[in-house]
């Protein structure tokens, strides 16, 4: 007999208040008002928002190969702390997740850790080299059941290869998630190309290098009738192209990172490599366009692009520093700050962008589900009134490279229920799912 939990007096994403939810045997047993708490652990949710468990479409867990940066264990602890019940683990590990063997390994590590549902992403090309297709079918049919394929970190720049990948994944309802970066236009690039790069003398990453690939890919996706996902959209121009493509009926989805919703390239003036990321931080105009696009649905989802790095990869010159920022444990707060506190969106759209749609893009059947009896209990309980100051040293991730360090942000995860088990309770890491060792 497992523990049952009664979440009492919650506000739903849709704004309904005083909702009780009884969690038993991994599922939502009952939803109602003034439910009896007999035998259940009561979680007081007065004033708290109860969301479908968050799903990250874009996470780097680094294992296998870069366990000094992150492991599946530490990365999924961080995910749980951030309110996530599922993460998509990107393929750029060492070895690259380009075979059924590697994706099954990552999947198994996730099951063993028991903090969230780990969905491995398969590489599009062997070794991310952009030359030959990886065995996409074998990864799809493996126990990991891969549906999202990406060379993230590197662009599938060869148009023929991209076309074939888009076509091929249709066989198993997969999606290609493209890292849109024209390689020749970004050789040696260190930051956004614009007024700040001109002053700092850093080689620029022009917006057109992202936009030209997105334009090509949406046309390709339309031509072959495939599903395309655009990773970490960062420019106003990209938003325009995606909007245009959606109007034409192209089956394209897009993601934005929390950091691109808040930070700009002005921060590079500090020369602190914690602000070095790919795609780079852009301008205020881009931030504004990205926020509007996320609010109106042109950009479907928020993906963290959580990219932990060991400190020595950031404690160095800008040009030598690694690109990437941690994000799992700050995503909710940053999005609340940038989108909800600004009145651009509500918690219902938040749930859509951080749970329902990412689960659909990744074809994760048990995630992003309605708050209804019988559904798997993947839930995130948020205190929207809380305020906290970001301290990377207190995070569960191994990465200390948070660009939000020192920033005061709203919103705190009070509890995360993963398949009915509280991985986070009272704002603290609890225990992994008891079934973790099984399977």
């Amino acid at each position: 007999m497992t523990t049952t939990y009664l979440i009492k007096g919650a506000t739903t994403a849709a704004g309904e208040t005083g909702v009780d939810v009884l969690v038993a045997d991994g599922r939502i047993a009952e939803r109602g008002r003034s439910l009896s708490s007999a035998g259940a652990v009561v979680v007081d949710a007065d004033g708290l928002v109860l969301l479908p468990g968050m799903v990250d479409i874009h996470t780097h867990l680094r294992e296998p190969g870069r366990e000094d940066a992150e492991t599946v264990e530490t990365g999924t602890r961080a995910a749980a702390m951030g309110g996530y019940t599922s993460v998509h683990a990107m393929a750029n590990s060492m070895p690259v997740a380009d075979t059924a063997g590697v994706v099954e390994q990552v999947y198994a590590l996730g099951r063993r850790a028991g903090w969230v549902d780990v969905r491995p992403v398969g590489a599009v090309t062997v070794g991310l080299a952009g030359e030959r297709l990886a065995e996409l079918g074998a990864m799809a049919q493996s126990r990991a059941g891969v549906r999202v394929f990406s060379d993230d970190g590197i662009c599938v720049s060869d148009p023929v290869l991209m076309r074939r990948a888009l076509e091929y994944v249709k066989a198993f309802d997969g999606v290609v998630a493209q890292h849109a970066q024209e390689p020749r236009l970004t050789e040696g690039a260190q930051m956004n190309e614009g007024a700040v790069s001109a002053v700092l003398g850093l080689a620029g990453w022009p917006a057109v290098a992202e936009e030209s690939i997105i334009a090509r890919d949406v046309l390709l996706a339309q031509h072959v009738g495939s599903r395309l996902h655009v990773c970490h959209v960062s420019t106003a121009g990209s938003v325009e192209i995606i909007r245009w493509a959606k109007q034409r009926g192209v089956n394209v989805t897009a993601e934005v990172t929390p950091h691109h919703l808040l930070l700009t390239d002005e921060l590079v003036r500090s020369w602190n490599p914690v602000y070095k990321v790919n795609p780079p931080l852009r301008t205020n105009e881009d931030v504004t366009a990205l926020r509007e696009a996320l609010a109106d649905g042109t950009i479907d989802v928020v993906g963290t692009d959580h990219a932990p790095h060991p400190s020595e990869h950031k404690e160095c010159e800008w040009a030598q520093a690694a690109m990437g920022m941690t994000g799992l444990e700050t995503a909710l707060s940053v999005v609340q700050h940038a989108m909800i506190e600004t009145g651009l969106m509500d918690w219902a759209r938040f749930a859509e962008a951080t749970s329902i749609l990412p689960a659909q893009i990744g074809r994760v059947q048990t995630q992003g589900r309605p708050l209804a009896a019988g559904e798997m209990a993947n839930l995130t309980l948020v205190d929207p009134a809380a305020r906290w100051t970001v301290d990377p040293h207190k995070m569960a991730t191994k990465g200390r490279n948070s660009p939000f360090a020192g920033l005061e942000l709203p919103g705190a995860v009070v509890a995360t229920f993963f398949a009915g088990h509280p991985t986070v309770l009272e704002g603290r890491l609890n225990t992994p799912h008891p079934d973790a060792q099984g399977d």
């Binding site: 001109a198 700092l200 020369w271």
Partner: protein, 332 residues
């Protein structure tokens, strides 16, 4: 002023203080005993991640004339072969009680990174970082300009700024730390700057820069600027399609013999030709131009020592407290 990292944020008052101090330092260079005891017992480290004998010996001469101990640290390491990390090197220098680190680095921002870190407490002097800035080069250029034009105007240069001067900076602005540092400093001091370059060698995003931009060197020369600053151009740039050939570059953007001759009959009677060195003779500047009486190339080298003495003196001689002591009040 704790560090000298860029000219972008250098105030006019601080810049003039450096130039005025450099005037006093220049007098020392003319004496039989070319040495001052001001930095006795202090250690200056020349930390060079990029070869530059000229800049290093200029800083070395400056530090030695001020009686500082000089340690030359040629740190190997490039974007390809990483050597010891900047952090480890800095902590080594800290352990050796370096009072100032003069750093030349191929990576833009490395000196600022060093100064902002808690790896080292020393004063940091940027001796050229990537394609970002080269502040002491700009200061010695401003010093050279100020001396030349106040002499012609029959004024003492002490305390003067550069108001009224029109200066053309010509060449590979995109990759030039000298161009950036000069643009900020010269405009801070009141000069008008025109950048002249092929469009491929101008950065994107300079619409707000406080200067004019021209693609036509002859047109700019015809206006009789007070100085023409030629930037070094790497011949290999043509391999990345910045310009079609060295010959076309030299003909269109180089300071050649025809342009030198045109200057003689134009409004630019006293126009000087500056170059930070090392020169590519025949590419951005002809030999006749480099060796003409208008050329200030050697004066720039000479002034470099004075300006670097001034910078080291101003960064290292005082303490940070502003509380005057009784002894000071009695003797001032």
């Amino acid at each position: 002023m704790k560090h000298l990292l860029s000219t972008e944020n250098l105030s006019a008052a601080d810049a003039i203080r450096i130039l005025d101090t450099a005037e006093e330092m220049a007098l020392v260079g003319e004496r039989e005993v070319k040495k001052l005891p001001a930095l006795r017992g202090r250690t200056v480290v020349n930390l060079f991640f990029e070869d530059s004998t000229r800049t290093r010996i200029s800083f070395e001469a400056a530090a030695k004339r001020l009686s500082a101990d000089v340690i030359n640290f040629a740190a190997k390491g490039s974007s390809v072969s990483k050597g010891e990390s900047l952090k480890d090197t800095a902590q080594t220098l800290e352990a050796m009680s370096a009072d100032a680190v003069v750093i030349r680095h191929w990576a833009s921002g490395a000196p600022a990174r060093l100064a902002a870190s808690d790896w080292i407490d020393a004063a940091v002097v940027n001796a050229g970082d990537g394609t970002h800035e080269h502040p002491t080069q700009a200061l010695l250029d401003a010093f050279t300009l100020r001396r030349h034009w106040s002499q012609i105007a029959g004024r003492a240069s002490l305390g003067e700024d550069l108001r009224g001067l029109r200066i053309a900076i010509v060449g590979d602005v995109l990759h030039s730390r000298v161009a950036r540092s000069n643009l900020w400093l010269l405009t801070t001091l009141g000069a008008e700057v025109t950048l002249v370059a092929p469009p491929t060698l101008l950065p994107v995003g300079i619409a707000d820069w406080p200067c004019r931009v021209s693609f036509d060197l002859d047109e700019v020369l015809a206006t009789g600027p007070h100085a023409i600053m030629m930037l070094r151009v790497q011949g290999e740039r043509m391999n990345a399609a910045f310009f079609p050939s060295a010959r076309e570059y030299a003909r269109t953007w180089g300071f050649d013999d025809d342009r030198l001759a045109a200057l003689e009959v134009s409004a630019g009677k006293d126009t000087i030709i500056m170059h930070p060195g090392p020169m590519n003779r025949g590419l951005e500047i002809s030999s006749a131009a480099a060796d003409s009486p208008r050329s200030t190339v050697l004066a720039q080298v000479r002034n470099g020592v004075s300006v670097r003495m001034a910078v080291l003196y101003l960064l290292l001689s005082g303490d940070d407290s502003t509380q005057p002591t009784p002894a000071q009040e009695a003797t001032v």
